[in-house]
């Protein structure tokens, strides 16, 4: 049920983001989405890619420090209040959201949300208990319109 996200440590100086991106490009790995967290001292590059295991190997071999984080993906109706309903469930279960990504579902008229919860197992339990549609890795990439 979980989606794997890679995070890469970056020093906060010019050109640091280019190296991991270039290494992935050379290996023919396409980045589905990324986010960048930065502080004055350092940055954290977070990546969702289809072939995360190979991407992890490519980045490690390039000398990067890479961690894998388990994410949870869900589908929500693309209407006002869609996200708020989900957040309410999470909040009531006492689970923290560290950060999230939002996408447009290319198959349905829906939204796809990918969460980094502090406790993904409990989050899955709470969400599925509230009949929220969880989506797995295969379906995620299908809904994002990424084939092959």
């Amino acid at each position: 049920m979980k989606i794997h996200q890679l995070s890469v440590f970056l020093e906060n100086k010019p050109g640091q983001l280019a190296l991991p991106c270039r290494k992935l490009a050379e290996a023919g790995i396409s980045i589905t989405t990324l986010s960048l967290a930065d502080t004055e001292q350092f940055g954290i590059l977070r990546l969702i890619v289809r072939d995360w295991e190979r991407a992890q190997e490519v980045l490690r071999n390039a000398g990067c420090v890479v961690n894998v984080t388990e994410m949870v993906a869900i589908q929500v109706p693309d209407r006002a209040g869609g996200l708020a309903e989900v957040l309410e469930i999470v909040e009531q279960a006492g689970i923290n959201i560290e950060y999230m990504y939002a996408f447009t579902d290319k198959l349905d008229d829906k939204g796809v949300l990918v969460f980094r919860f502090d406790d993904p197992d409990r989050a899955i339990e709470a969400l599925s208990g509230a009949s929220i549609q969880l989506i797995d890795r295969v379906e995620l990439f299908q809904r994002l319109g990424i084939v092959s």
Binding site: L10, G63, N67, E98
Partner: protein
């Protein structure tokens, strides 16, 4: 059991002592030392102008040296004396009797040059043989000597000692880490010699190449040429299974082989029949009581080509008066964690790099890849410690990484008593050295 929790490999049993001198009763040793010291002082007085002038300045002649205690009256020799007399000014033998020259790395200005007669080279091999034996090495061991060969005394010193013992020596010298690991694996190496920081780099590189040293025959490492810590020993032993031994020496005295740990890993035995240790107060120059901490001063007792009388090492240690469980009677000194010239002063506080290393390694998940950068901002000294991020320290969450930084800064502040800025660095971004690690970069003069 996880890989990192495996205990270091046990030393072999039943090896024979290689030198009776290590076990000499104290009174016999003192008598031998006095005889040799008197000969040495006479030789230095006759052949080193600098020493004779200083003796005369104090109204002393070699006849005033009647007991070992009288040595405290004699003048010191210091490092700049070797620079001032560069290159051959302190040689006591004519060049026809000198069979070898070495020179120090000389970080500032001219190097210092040291000389050996044929007998000196033999003594050197003997003390290094005793060093290897003390670390549980024996004939049949395969020794990978990754100390640099050349003007540096480390390479050839370890080489002849291991050969004298009857071990098989691989004279690979420093550098080319991938080849070091290939040789270690393919040749069935059992003993490694290099700087501790370089071995940490080797362990790390071996891991990247899929080589686990726990699975290899390598059993012991003789590490020296730079100060290191108990925490570093623990790290090496945990991550490689290799028993890490501290060895001590300096070119001015002979090179490596002045002293060594034994398998008890509880202080370094000084080979006292060749090197006489004293501990002095580095401020006043006064001799201290046995057991008190101060600067180590060494006098060569047999070095013919270049006697050194009361050489100030700048190394801070103390003599351990208690007998060693290994049975050797030659006295021990404590591991040298500090050199008085490694020390830097920041905002009035004395800091030694080894304190920084200990504070960093106290935080779980850290590796000893660090550098200390000193700068001056608006006239105020700043200290920054750069530490490479490891997968254990890293997180996708900013908060967790900030927490790591806080922990490291806290550990440093606790140890040093001053605020230190911690900067996390990318892996491999801190320069690896095949020789002595450069831990401190002082940019304060460049930034007024």
């Amino acid at each position: 059991m996880t890989e990192s929790a495996r205990p270091p490999k046990a030393p072999p049993h039943g090896f024979q002592p290689v030198s009776a001198m290590d076990y000499l009763p104290a009174d016999q040793l003192r008598q031998l030392q006095l005889q040799r010291l008197q000969t040495m002082v006479r030789r230095a007085y006759e052949r080193q102008v600098l020493f004779r002038d200083r003796m005369s300045g104090r109204g002393l002649t070699p006849h005033d040296l009647r007991t070992l205690g009288d040595l405290a009256q004699l003048p010191f020799t210091i490092k700049t004396d070797l620079r001032d007399t560069y290159p051959f000014g302190l040689f006591a033998s004519s060049m026809s009797d000198v069979v070898r020259l070495h020179a120090s790395s000389g970080t500032t200005g001219k190097p210092i040059v040291v000389a050996y007669t044929r007998e000196d080279v033999q003594v050197w091999a003997e003390v290094m043989q005793r060093t290897f034996a003390a670390c549980g090495v024996h004939a049949g061991d395969i020794v990978q000597n990754a100390y640099g060969y050349g003007l540096f005394t480390g390479g050839l010193g370890a080489h002849y000692g291991a050969e004298a013992l009857g071990a098989t020596v691989i004279p690979i010298s420093g550098g080319n880490t991938d080849r070091q690991i290939m040789v270690m694996k393919d040749f069935g190496v059992t003993v490694i010699c290099c700087t501790p920081s370089y071995f940490v780099h080797m362990i790390e590189r071996a891991g990247q190449l899929g080589v686990d040293m726990h699975q290899l025959p390598i059993r012991a490492g003789l590490f020296g040429a730079e100060p290191w810590t108990e925490q570093m020993r623990h790290h090496i032993q945990q991550t490689s299974g290799v028993c890490a031994y501290d060895i001590y020496g300096l070119s001015e005295i002979i090179g490596p082989g002045v002293g060594s740990e034994c398998t008890a890993q509880a202080g370094l035995h000084i080979f006292e029949d060749h090197f006489y240790p004293e501990i002095i107060d580095p401020e006043t120059g006064q001799s201290l009581e046995e057991g008190e901490e101060g600067e180590l001063v060494l006098t060569t007792l047999s070095k013919w080509a270049m006697p050194m009388i009361r050489y100030r090492t700048r190394d801070i240690t103390r003599v351990i008066p208690e007998p060693c469980p290994c049975g050797r009677t030659v006295r021990r000194i404590e591991r040298i964690g500090r050199r008085s010239d490694d020390m830097f002063i920041i905002r009035g506080v004395n800091v030694f790099p080894s304190q920084v290393e200990a504070a960093l390694l106290a935080v779980e998940g850290t590796l000893p890849h660090y550098q200390i950068v000193l700068t001056r901002e608006h006239g105020l000294d700043q200290m920054e410690v750069q530490l490479e991020v490891t997968p254990q320290l890293f997180s996708d969450r900013v908060g967790a990484l900030e927490e790591v930084r806080r922990k490291l800064a806290h550990s440093l502040e606790n140890t040093l008593g001053i605020h230190v800025k911690v900067q996390l660095a990318e892996p491999q971004s801190i320069e690896r050295s095949a020789g002595k690690a450069k831990r401190v970069i002082d940019k304060r003069d460049a930034t007024p």
